[in-house]
Symmetry: C2
Subunit: 363 residues, 2 copies
């Protein structure tokens, strides 16, 4: 293996890939990146067995070959180099890296010992506008469960229904669903939310299109110079649709910034109740109020004007509510519920493609 | 106490002050800020008994008074409020905070129980250009010892000599000295480096002048709307001047960015030697070289062109060298030493007001 690549391109690829490398695992080679020279490109890949990312880089290849080297060291090393051309050469399981000012040798482990990156030969294909999918995942993925106690809830579920594609996640305390207008065959796909967070991290703004191909056990997301393969979660996603409220007896429409503000401030006084706050919607006063009474700290009353139909109060986890409000970007927000035992629905009055649902706490 | 203040001003003052409040100490009231209304201003103060910061804020005072309330809660609360006028009113040791949308009550502790902030009646006075002092402290304070094993080394030493003012700090492995051209009486002042870091944190760019008044036990730094009082370290500063090399048999002048780069990259290969690297200065090749040989990782040879007089090599802690190089801002740097057992001197060839000295390690 012998090739030339620019520091800028190699560094960019290592930045995408190196964080996936698994330095805490039992298999030392998983802490390495696989560097492979073939045809007119260099591939840089890492995997933690759940997810694998391969980043392709244009390079001037003199001879092919492959090696694995420690991901952290190589990424730090290349990022510290000044811009310009870097020469890579493999000699006896040692990767030689040469520039004007540097010549370094990093000890490698044979590429043959690297776990075969999951590959997908063929399967159902979906094509997304990259900006739409990115926005949807940003709005949805954070509501997945971050623990493994119920693996099915640690996933983001893609599924088609009546010609539309839905992306949904829930940790059973809250749920987010995004609708994307895309021509789809019938599809169901349950991917780990962690893989979608990795995808969001490495997705460049210039990428226009994301293709997804799936088989029984895994899915390939390809975009720009990157291929991300993730295992699928092998479970049936719960029938979540009935959890999204379809009617509301209490409904307030208010400025999103106002609601965020009163919830944030009230949460400061909610330490004694582990963050729970009670939101009052008042038709007579046409406002939304939050009262917090903390015996140690003091008390707080916050209110914001709103267009209100129906009155009532409901107790929520303030952190979930802050997360939910932050998932929207419009100026106004509709906050509605049916009774204090049923979930709250958050919606943008001008956008129907995203709903956010939060389960109430006992008052 | 009853007054009106803008959220912007109050928030700014709390940001300066609240971090000083001591939430880990044994005296619960030190976790509070002292709010005091007097004449046409509000003062916001906190202390951890080593340092006290008071920030004055213009306010419309209806009636005077004082109270202390938890610093963290008040700072988070005020920073979450939207901009505009806030009314503060004291009622029975409860601080009532009212805006259009909020009315809150924070339980306080009587101001009489708050430790008296150290005050300085009169003493020697020094006046600095704020930008000069800021730059000097940034270049010097980080070299003070961060442990308390030798309290004298945890300080920044201000002293006058032959009509010049010097600011110096050392942790015995490295030393930095800044010269400031300011008319000074004979003065010696040893302040905790932590207090100078607090000063740097809260020093706004608009501040033009910093006044220092000292008495036997403490010093007052006043600038803008802030008064910072720090206790002094009661020790005689070591006679450090002989540690600054006055001659060099080996001297390399090179681009600062080049030196930083080769040291950073080499440090990645210096894990097995706890970060120590050996720098070779070569008169024949007119360059500076760093060779790292790490049996586990591989090896690295880095070099940068330099104007060189004399040849030799010296072993240094790479982290200290990186810190030292970063303390300069000029394009070029002079790296010089006399023998591999004597300290290295870093200097900007175009600025004579700052020297940085690093002790060698055994090769």
């Amino acid at each position: 293996m012998k090739l030339q690549v620019t520091q800028e391109n190699f560094n960019h690829a290592l930045n995408s890939v190196a964080r996936i490398a698994d330095t805490h695992g039992t298999l030392p080679i998983l802490a390495n990146v696989l560097i492979k020279a073939e045809k007119n490109r260099l591939s840089v890949a890492a995997t933690n067995l759940n997810i694998g990312i391969t980043h392709f880089v244009g390079a001037k290849i003199e001879s092919g070959g492959a090696i694995t080297v420690p991901a952290g060291l190589l990424a730090s090393f290349i990022s510290s180099l000044p811009g310009g051309v870097i020469e890579l050469e493999l000699e006896n399981k040692k990767l030689k890296i040469t520039t004007d000012q540097y010549n370094s040798t990093i000890n490698g482990i044979s590429a043959e010992d690297f776990p075969v990156m999951p590959a997908i030969e063929s399967g159902e294909t979906l094509t997304f506008n990259a900006a739409d999918l990115k926005k949807g995942l940003q709005q949805v993925a954070f509501t997945a469960s971050s623990t493994d106690s119920r693996p099915v809830l640690s996933g983001v579920f893609f599924h088609s229904l009546e010609g539309k594609l839905f992306i949904v996640a829930t940790d059973s305390s809250r749920l987010a669903e995004k609708t994307i207008n895309v021509k789809v065959p019938k599809i169901e796909l349950l991917v780990p939310a962690s893989a979608m967070n990795d995808l969001l991290r490495i997705l460049d703004d210039e990428v226009k299109e994301i293709k997804i191909v799936k088989d029984e056990q895994q899915a390939l997301f390809s975009f720009g110079d990157v291929e991300l393969v993730t295992r699928l979660i092998d479970s049936t996603y719960p029938n979540y649709k009935p959890l999204i409220p379809t009617k509301s007896s209490v409904k307030a429409t208010l400025k999103r910034a106002d609601l965020l503000n009163i919830v944030k401030v009230s949460s400061l006084f909610a330490r004694e109740t582990a963050g729970s706050i009670t939101i009052e919607v008042n038709e007579a006063d046409q406002n939304v109020k939050i009262k917090s009474l903390a015996s140690q700290l003091g008390e707080n009353n916050a209110q914001a004007p709103a267009k209100v139909a129906g009155s009532g109060s409901i107790t929520l986890n303030s952190r979930f509510l802050i997360d939910g409000i932050n998932a929207f970007s419009g100026e106004e927000l509709v906050f509605s519920f049916n009774s204090n035992l049923e979930p709250v629905l958050l919606k943008d009055p001008k956008a129907t493609d995203y709903v956010h649902v939060i389960m109430p706490l006992k008052a």
